[in-house]
């Protein structure tokens, strides 16, 4: 299992039956592979789909059926199509229960920065800002550090924000961390990791409950 698969598998366990969920590009799109059949969720895509089905197999592609990341997808029973305005009415109107997003930085107060590196990368805003600001719950799925080993979880974001205080939970290959009013609360820790490693690779202090921290 790659570190991305590990994150996706753990993220899948945050999903509750009956939810409308939205999957950002990257790791989030791998989550459906780890959802149990009884999950009974509706996967929404910004380009106008509610009810994406299992991963599209080679040869089954439909030229008119892609998700917001331009991947070919399938449909689940009860799917529906709509225009981009209705699609974002679902999002901004508060009907997305759970939004999984990748990130560049995330802060201890839940601030999210994932759309621009001034002077370097600014391909656009896409649907992320509206998802971050309006989904009922935002879960960030990300590698714990950058390729250079620098923390992505920080006391404060240094990049321009996508949305303020929006993230509820961070899932990395090392840990599951909740954003609480008191700061970052370490909820779970990866089997192959240790408390010291996680704290060292995190740019803000971690809180944790007394006793054994559950492993994943």
């Amino acid at each position: 299992m790659s570190f991305k698969e590990k994150i996706a598998a753990r993220a899948a366990r945050e999903v509750q039956a009956g939810q409308v969920i939205n999957l950002g590009i990257g790791i989030p799109t791998m989550i459906p592979d780890y959802l149990p059949a009884e999950a009974d969720v509706f996967i929404q895509a910004e380009n106008g789909i509610l009810g994406i089905g299992p991963r599209c197999r080679n040869g089954d592609e439909d030229r008119n059926l892609i998700d917001a990341g331009a991947n070919y997808v399938t449909l689940a029973p009860g799917a529906s199509f709509f225009d981009s305005a209705v699609s974002f009415a679902i999002i901004r109107g508060g009907r997305v229960d759970l939004s999984f997003l990748g990130t560049l930085e995330v802060a201890a107060n839940g601030d999210l920065a994932n759309w621009i590196i001034p002077g370097k990368m600014a391909p656009g805003i896409g649907g992320g800002m509206e998802l971050a600001q309006k989904a009922k719950r935002v879960v960030v799925t990300t590698s714990h550090t950058t390729r250079d080993g620098a923390p992505k979880i920080l006391a404060r974001c240094t990049l321009p924000l996508t949305a303020r205080a929006c993230v509820k939970t961070i899932i990395t290959e090392l840990a599951v961390i909740d954003i609480t009013p008191h700061g970052l609360m370490l909820r779970e820790i990866a089997r192959e990791s240790g408390l010291e490693e996680v704290q060292e690779k995190t740019g803000a202090p971690l809180l944790f409950a007394e006793g054994e921290i559950p492993r994943f």
């Binding site: 409308v20 029973p77 305005a85 209705v86 974002f88 999002i91 901004r92 109107g93």
Partner: protein
């Protein structure tokens, strides 16, 4: 599999006194007469109702108006209901009236998670006296705040159990907009089909907006062709 069908009393108990309730329908088509009849029986009062019109005497929301259950009515035109007009003129109900398409846009804006819309409709009329006027790009615009409600009650022709809806003909009107704009959406539906049998391209309102489906056993005469409108 997800199943949003709910017993009518269970669904409607979420409507509390002094709640705001959006009611679908333009005239009779799209009006959830049976939900409204049960809301009357349930005794809910001090309601704010949002509907295009006031139905006609003895029908739909007029029953709630006649029973004194309504504090405020937000509508576009209530001319087909002389009882509602009289209640308004005697100030027994508070009435807010909007241009019809602006009422639709205010509701849609609420449903789309917007804070409001900007329009030039009514800028040269007495409407502007009671509105916030903003200056944008060198011109004036009336600011119409978005409208949301605690509950929406709407009527649909067909649904699947996941809440995907199809409306019939001119019964669509305000129904999908209101279903987007309320915290709890209760839909009475004439027919339920298994999830997965509706054409995804033909769905008028995606199930994400629907909380409860009340399946109607039979329609009351209010749903039929109204003799007073047959020429």
């Amino acid at each position: 599999m997800m199943d949003k069908t709910t017993r009518i009393d269970k669904a409607l108990e979420q409507v509390l006194d002094s709640h705001s309730v959006m009611v679908g329908g333009f005239g009779a088509p799209g009006t959830p007469f049976i939900l409204l009849d049960h809301l009357l029986e349930q005794g809910s009062s001090d309601l704010t109702l949002i509907k295009n019109d006031a139905n006609e005497p003895g029908m739909g929301i007029s029953k709630l108006l006649e029973a004194g259950r309504v504090r405020t009515l937000i509508a576009s035109h209530i001319g087909l209901n002389p009882i509602a007009v009289a209640l308004m003129n005697r100030r027994e109900i508070e009435v807010e009236l909007y241009p019809q398409g602006i009422l639709a846009e205010k509701i849609r804006a609420g449903g789309a998670g917007l804070l409001g819309v900007l329009t030039d409709i009514g800028l040269d009329t007495i409407l502007r006296e009671s509105r916030q006027v903003v200056h944008m790009e060198g011109r004036e615009a009336i600011l119409e705040p978005a409208l949301r409600a605690d509950t929406a009650l709407i009527h649909a022709a067909v649904a699947d159990r996941a809440g995907n809806l199809i409306f019939a003909r001119s019964a669509r009107n305000f129904c999908p907009l209101m279903a987007m704009a309320a915290d709890t959406v209760i839909v009475e539906v004439e027919k339920v089909v298994p999830t997965g049998t509706l054409d995804p391209d033909a769905v008028h309102l995606p199930g994400a907006f629907v909380d409860h489906l009340v399946v109607l056993d039979a329609l009351t005469p209010d749903y039929g062709v109204l003799p007073n409108h047959v020429i």
